[in-house]
Symmetry: C2
Subunit: 383 residues, 2 copies
Amino acid sequence: MIPFNKPCTIGNELDYIKDAISLGKLCGNGKYTNKCQSFFEEKYGFKKCLLTTSCTDALEMCAILLDIQAGDEVIMPSYTFVSTSNAFVLRGAKIVFADSESNNPNMDCNEIEKLITPRTKCIVVVHYAGASCDMEKVAEIAKKHNIFLVEDAAQAVDNYYISKTGNKIPLGSIGNLAAFSFHETKNIICGEGGMLVVNDENFVKRSEIIWEKGTNRSAYFRGEIDKYGWVDVGSSFLMSELTAAYLWAQLESIAKIQTRRLEVWNLYNSLLKDVQSKYGCTLQTIPSHSTNNAHAFYMICNSTEERGGLIKYLKENDAQLVFHYLSLHKSAFYSDKHDGRELPNADRYSDCLVRLPIYYDITNEQVQKIAEKINSFYADYTK
Amino acid sequence: MIPFNKPCTIGNELDYIKDAISLGKLCGNGKYTNKCQSFFEEKYGFKKCLLTTSCTDALEMCAILLDIQAGDEVIMPSYTFVSTSNAFVLRGAKIVFADSESNNPNMDCNEIEKLITPRTKCIVVVHYAGASCDMEKVAEIAKKHNIFLVEDAAQAVDNYYISKTGNKIPLGSIGNLAAFSFHETKNIICGEGGMLVVNDENFVKRSEIIWEKGTNRSAYFRGEIDKYGWVDVGSSFLMSELTAAYLWAQLESIAKIQTRRLEVWNLYNSLLKDVQSKYGCTLQTIPSHSTNNAHAFYMICNSTEERGGLIKYLKENDAQLVFHYLSLHKSAFYSDKHDGRELPNADRYSDCLVRLPIYYDITNEQVQKIAEKINSFYADYTK
């Protein structure tokens, strides 16, 4: 069976874990945490990075930093992972779900402005499958209405928005705040882990306090104050050095990992052209304002039944394809809190989107086998 | 310099991490998570255990499970770590701080009942330095007033309450819920990590949902439901398998670790008798209703100045002694929210308690050297 995902181990992970153990510091904020944070700050120009135990936790830090209060409204896509919304619901926010674009699952930025009310505190964009949202448009809306912009960049490591003037702007550097994931299903991994990015200077100092359980411990260790104490809310957001050591090995090899994933992506894309042209099953499209970090390779089937058949057929032929999110506005938890608007594109992706195995260790032969079986499924299915 | 703490690596940690990597599952809820959870359930009779990213996060799960709402009151000691309170403050609770006992930092259980109001939702006891609170008394109060009981057992791994009838009851098994820590400063470690214990059957099902980001994913993987979705609030509480693998190696050797720590504790205790009898500096006492897990060895100095002098003298003689919590009712964050009651015992521990190095790898020679220097400090100090 070719699994949907296989966590990548690229080389130095165990050596760095061994080193972390030998250094006698296994809690957070040590050598490897600092190396990883500096890497992101230097390579992508993020103002301040803080490794966290998950992307979910980084999003929770965003909600705390933005001082979300009961009744504040937060606009986000319905087609996203539960953590995007839970992080804000936990602070009392009302979630206002927006539909996806017709040709890709990212939030339709033309829909945002009509959802803004005097209670709107923030827009959370999600770069689905790593592909950039229309960041100039959404940043302009946020600025015009004086509301905050958060990037849920869980899937968007090492990817770029292409501006109207042709500049490549790193995803995660545009919002006031951004959150990344290093969960084992992502391009760059450490098992469970994430990172908060603070681009807005106004949030830098407080982000460190919230990260350190609501204490001014970081300032204490820099010698800025005599003793540290409880000064704010906060939680235990620090990533263990064991995990950060694994992450550092991955970051050292980020170019190698990304190059291989893009090869796999391009191979799928070329081998499945017929499925699109002959059978109307849409292959993933990368928006013209985005580069491709090959986080996922997905297709949009013509129906839920077709998708079910395809998944079943591939399973019988030893490969695991999987669908993705269920629209959050229709979830058991939130459907009675949603305002009733139909979000047909989100529903279509819920019903028809299917993802193919893509990871560093997959071989060209495996990709070819999967593509071949998909082609033969469609040849039979549409007979 | 003899450090205050040195994280322990007992033997199989790297082998198990290597194994976790080879199994191709590095996110949470895998082989090592299950081994660790089963270990605690079987050895201590905890009903349900869930590994978390930290003890803080386990306490946050408690606050969510108890459905803490804005204005609900939670009684806890002032002499504790910020996480005990932050976890409940994040859900909107008003914290009602209780004083410590006169002869040890645990909450004075005789003070609890007068703090109970119709808004009191829960009592959180903290087993300071691992030593048990008076659990029969506090359980009786909670039952009488129909409020919940949570054990912050961060420091209390493998320790027991001794009941009036002489039974040894594992700490963490008595409250409706309990939280443990495996931070590198604890007896059993994994860098950053913790565990929620659910003893109250009413919370078992929902604890799994909150642990899995507010989804019914666990039920899905057990085949109980067809697909999983968003059914509740929640967060990303799972501990990575990398970390759980490290933890499992420690649990395998728990007897060895605990035996050595207790030897160190007993050595300090015998070598420092004179300090107590001659100079009035009180050595740590273990309440008669508690066993000793040797999490810490501490002394209570006669004054803050004496403590400062002692720490300075030991530092000059190459050993690191450290004080501990600042009373939370006097913190910058909470002093204006506290009701003004004086908590003199908590303040005394804030001002005068000092902790000595105690860890698996410390040698008898190092302990002897530290004790000797403490004795010579007092001989000079009181001349």
